[in-house]
């Protein structure tokens, strides 16, 4: 249950403003793809086009193609809601629903997709999802407590459990560790390397060491100046990108000369 995504000549607009220009990349299944680059280079914007979350902002639209296993995500008859059910997302700040218990949080997406679920199925799913997010042992005794009572790292893993409970094809992560401490970050990174056996993972990160640690392929985005569109500079195997990038800007960025 993991699919590849082929993006070709994708432009992203906010109204008339061209935010990201001409992205062409292949995102391989069962692997972690990292998007790196300086602030404002459009990597988060690009990530959000993969599950059409950018459409939440009025006036945002794309040109070009994003094809997931032969299915165009932007075909006129495709409902963005259906896309989001296949492409899950984890956000920068942990956002469990504060009015729901841990258990209800995990089941939130499932209840949308298929309203009726038997109690035992629900319990199994809660356990397997929380196991999958490496959170089960910490919360199994307090599944009915509010999710907002957990620590930041636990909340983020709860959000991952919530995302994988609906069995998506692809998991998008928008700087999932930037609000977390090093220990929690390590837990999430370990989790990513387990999850990639089952899911296609795309992660945006500001932390180059993190990209080097967790990803199989890395894409470097850059921006020529403020007000100019962000572009994909180059993409390749993470080992190659960090040892011998072909473009000078990539080398400058990963060696810390700017960004």
């Amino acid at each position: 249950m993991s699919k590849r995504i082929d993006v070709s000549d994708l432009n992203v607009y906010y109204g008339d403003f061209l935010a990201v220009e001409g992205v062409t990349m292949a995102i391989e299944p069962r692997s972690v793809t990292a998007l790196i680059g300086p602030s404002g280079c459009g990597k988060s914007t690009f990530l959000r086009t993969l599950n059409r979350m950018h459409e939440v902002i009025p006036g945002a639209h794309v040109e070009g193609k994003a094809v997931m296993d032969g299915q165009d995500l932007y075909a006129p008859d495709v409902d963005p809601v259906a896309v989001r059910r296949q492409v899950g997302m984890v956000f920068q700040r942990p956002n469990p629903f504060p009015t729901m218990s841990i258990k209800e949080n995990v089941l939130a997406g499932v209840k949308l997709n298929n309203k009726r679920i038997s109690k035992s199925d629900a319990n199994d799913l809660v356990e397997s999802s929380l196991q999958g997010a490496n959170l089960w042992n910490e919360v199994k005794d307090r599944l009915d407590r509010p999710g907002s009572g957990l620590s930041g790292g636990q909340q983020q893993r709860l959000c991952i459990a919530r995302a994988i409970a609906v069995r998506p094809q692809v998991l998008l992560m928008d700087e999932p560790c930037s609000a977390l401490d090093p220990i929690s970050t390590l837990a999430i990174e370990d989790l990513m390397s387990e999850l990639k056996d089952d899911y296609t993972i795309v992660i945006v990160t500001h932390n180059m060491q993190q990209a080097a640690r967790v990803s199989d392929r890395t894409a470097f985005f850059n921006i020529a100046g403020t007000g100019k569109p962000g572009k994909l500079v180059e993409m390749g195997d993470t080992a190659t990108m960090f040892s011998s990038p072909t473009v000078q800007a990539t080398e400058d960025y990963i060696s810390g000369r700017f960004g």
């Binding site: 989001r84 059910r85 956002n95 504060p98 997406g109 009572g149």
Partner: protein
């Protein structure tokens, strides 16, 4: 009457100043004194009102039924038997009004906050605020002269088709019944409930809205998952504000309802119920002596009702505090 969330109340009373007064310098101490004073003032005013009501109502509270029955309009066996139906009428009218107004208000507020295009939402918001500024006597006139004739055919039909249910039995034109009064009250409290609910819905964290959308929620599902749970306590507070206004509303009820003093659930029959506020307003100008005390005793009952209503609202909000999103 406002039911605010506990944190702001705590800040207002200032019983445990966050910054020690010695550290704040002169300005800090002056401000701490002023805010503490304001907090105490509220308690003093509240106590003063309660004391006034009890003192003024005392003659009626201690009078024998025989003495009370010398008042021309006092037909009950005791003071309690007189106040009872009034309390019942007041609660019935207000709860009916709330039942009509809350769903409509929440609908309008959601439309403004999450569905309407921005420009339309703004215009609609102004319009709702404008409704709140209309004096209640105008609502009364509007209800009595315009709404009642319009309701007449509807009530006739309702009583004819559903008349076998006691609630809707025995309608007589004109529509001077508690249902009409409640509809007028509902229109009156609609703006305040809508305005507060809209503000609360707009405060829903974008993070939570995006969380539900990213799970594949439609807009309505997003509203149900993120917006309504977040706004729940705010909507309850708003409803209590509305209920407070409905409980105390005088003119609109006075001008619409044909009064009666019965524990009656006939919503469409005239001459069944009366509210405390309207009753005081209609009798007060010609009352003197013990009659005034009796009316003030009913006012004391109204005071107690609003208190109890507030307590219940607080209890509802506090019950699921951990899940409120405030932490």
């Amino acid at each position: 009457m406002a039911v605010t969330s506990p944190p702001s109340t705590r800040a207002g009373l200032g019983s445990e100043p966050q910054v020690p007064a010695t550290k704040g310098g002169l300005a800090g101490r002056v401000f701490a004194g002023l805010s503490t004073g304001a907090g105490i003032l509220i308690l003093v005013v509240l106590a003063a009102v309660a004391v006034f009501l009890v003192i003024e109502a005392w003659p009626a509270l201690t009078a024998s039924p025989e003495e009370l029955q010398e008042i021309s309009w006092f037909k009950a066996d005791s003071l309690l038997a007189y106040v009872g139906p009034l309390v019942f009428g007041t609660l019935l009218a207000s709860i009916l009004a709330l039942a009509i107004a809350v769903p409509v208000s929440v609908g309008i507020a959601l439309f403004i906050s999450h569905y309407a295009p921005r420009r339309l939402a703004q215009g609609l918001g102004y319009l709702i605020d404008l409704l709140a500024a209309i004096p209640s006597v105008v609502y009364g006139l509007w209800g009595a002269l315009w709404l009642l004739p319009i309701l007449n055919p509807f009530f006739t039909w309702l009583s004819g088709t559903l008349g076998f249910i006691p609630l809707f039995a025995g309608y007589q034109a004109p529509a001077k019944n508690i249902m009409s009064a409640s509809i007028v009250l509902a229109v009156m409290i609609l703006p305040i409930i809508t305005a507060v609910s809209r503000e609360v819905f707009l405060q829903t964290p974008v993070l939570h809205e995006e969380a539900s959308l990213a799970l594949g929620a439609t807009r309505w599902e997003m509203v149900r998952m993120a917006v309504l749970p977040f706004g729940r306590s705010g909507v309850i507070s708003a409803s209590m504000l509305g209920l407070g206004r409905a409980l105390g509303e005088t003119m609109a009820v006075l001008m619409v309802i044909s009064p009666g003093f019965l524990y009656s659930l006939f919503l469409l029959k005239p001459g069944q119920q009366q509210t405390i506020a309207a009753n005081i307003a209609s009798k007060f100008p010609e009352a003197s002596g013990l009659a005034v005390s009796t009316l003030i005793a009913t006012g004391l009952a109204l005071f107690v009702i609003t208190f109890v209503v507030n307590m219940i609202a607080r209890w509802i909000i506090a019950r699921r505090k951990e899940f409120s999103g405030a932490n």
